[in-house]
């Protein structure tokens, strides 16, 4: 599992934010398009793609996409 691949899959979940805006250090909760509904979409994506169950706190305690990537990786 690679960081770039994770960022790509993360970006795919968003309709109105340009894919180029998603970087390892992007603070995803600060994105204009972000809402708590996207948290569910991200949990679903991680479950689908990596077979990992994220908890609410995993999202809450992650600031950047890389933070979340590390959480997913640690649960692998």
């Amino acid at each position: 599992m690679e960081l770039q691949e994770f960022i790509g899959k993360f970006a795919e979940q968003f309709d109105n934010t340009d894919a180029n805006e998603f970087k390892a250090d992007t603070e995803f909760k600060a994105l204009d398009e972000w809402s708590s509904l996207y948290a569910l979409t991200i949990i679903a994506m991680v479950d689908d793609e990596y077979d990992i169950t994220l908890k609410g706190d995993d999202i809450r305690n992650s600031e950047t996409i890389e933070d979340l990537y590390k959480v997913v990786k640690s649960k692998k």
Binding site: S35, S36, L37, L40, I43, D47, K55, I59, R60
Partner: protein, 342 residues
């Protein structure tokens, strides 16, 4: 490994009652529009009217079903009432329903406090009771008059009745159950019970982690935790049940899921390889109706056509507790009453 099997028992009829009054879904958060919210959770409207308690709705549904089935009230030997919104803290609501329905004072009556998993749990209890000495029984399940007004727009009111009968030779029900109380606060009304008794403080409004303001008599939901619990636990429970009984899920006509949220249910169905037409829903027009959601979905999503057919079902309830249960059963010429709107 909570697997259970009850033979010689079957469901002969199902009914449901909802308030006539329809409430359109409104977003509770300024971060997204009403429409975005509605599309995401899958609820367009709910039926909500504080003139009715859960037991009122179950009463109307029971009167309708008893009439439709032409049951004699004197033959009904047991009722179980599943709800998290009983009429009083005490007494239990089931004896009140026994009296209101004019059932015999020899009737076995008990309440069960479970939510989303409640119909499946209640069905196991009532099928365990229908062993021959008890022949006809009613499982009543639902929630209404929640202490929450507009704060939880996803929840609709409904009361349902499932008529269960001793039936020699019938295949009955195969169940799988689970509980995880470590998630007790994932969905919780913190105050008003014995742990945190009601005080003036209980009415103070606080903002939760998602920025939604509620008082301590209204339900708090950790949405993300409930979501991840549901999309993982429900499919696992159903797979365990199918594995235990060497049941091919392709041979199941309908998967009836607790109506939690569109994304959750779509994920569960996808994981189990059920196409949309085998997964009826009631979420769009009735919202999340807690323990009523499975029978309400059968009444509104499949309905009358079950009367002349035999169909195989898997139903799964999951949520508050945390608690979950799955059941496999057949409905053979089962009477489905038309929806009661009061």
């Amino acid at each position: 490994m909570a697997f259970l099997e009850f033979k010689n028992v079957r469901i002969v009829g199902i009914s449901a009652a909802v308030p006539k009054k329809v409430v359109k879904l409104r977003s509770r958060n300024s971060g997204y529009s009403d429409e975005e919210y509605s599309n995401s959770v899958g609820v367009k409207e709910t039926h909500v009217d504080d003139s009715f308690t859960t037991s009122d709705l179950c009463y109307y549904a029971a009167e309708k079903l008893i009439t439709d089935l032409k049951w004699e009230k004197s033959e009904i030997d047991a009722i179980i009432f599943v709800s998290q919104f009983p009429d009083y803290i005490l007494p239990a609501t089931s004896p009140i329903l026994q009296d209101r329905l004019g059932l015999s004072t020899e009737c076995y009556a008990a309440d069960v406090s479970l939510g989303c998993s409640g119909w499946v749990y209640g069905l196991s209890l009532i099928s365990g009771l229908c062993n021959g000495s008890i022949k006809k029984a009613l499982l009543m399940a639902g929630d209404a008059r929640r202490m929450q007004d507009q704060k939880d727009p996803l929840f609709g009111y409904a009361g349902t009745v499932t008529a269960v009968e001793f039936s020699g030779g019938n295949n009955g029900f195969d169940f799988h159950f689970g509980s995880d109380g470590s998630g007790y606060d994932a969905i919780i009304i913190p105050d008003g019970g014995a742990r945190n008794q009601f005080t003036a403080e209980s009415l103070k409004v606080h903002a939760d982690d998602d920025g939604i303001s509620r008082n301590s008599l209204q339900s708090y939901i950790k949405g993300m935790d409930v979501f991840s619990f549901a999309i993982t636990t429900a499919p696992k429970s159903i797979k365990k049940l199918a594995g235990k009984h060497s049941l091919d899920l392709k041979s199941v006509d309908y998967l009836i899921l607790h109506q939690a949220n569109k994304q959750i249910n779509a994920k569960i169905a996808k994981k189990l390889d059920f196409e949309q037409d085998r997964v009826p829903e009631s979420l769009t027009n009735y919202g999340n109706t807690s323990s009523a959601s499975i029978p309400l979905t059968i009444v509104t999503g499949i309905g009358k056509r079950l009367q002349n057919e035999s169909k195989r079902f898997i139903a799964c309830g999951f949520g508050v507790g945390l608690s979950w249960g799955s059941v496999f059963f057949e409905l053979d010429h089962c009477f489905i009453s038309s929806l009661v709107e009061v």
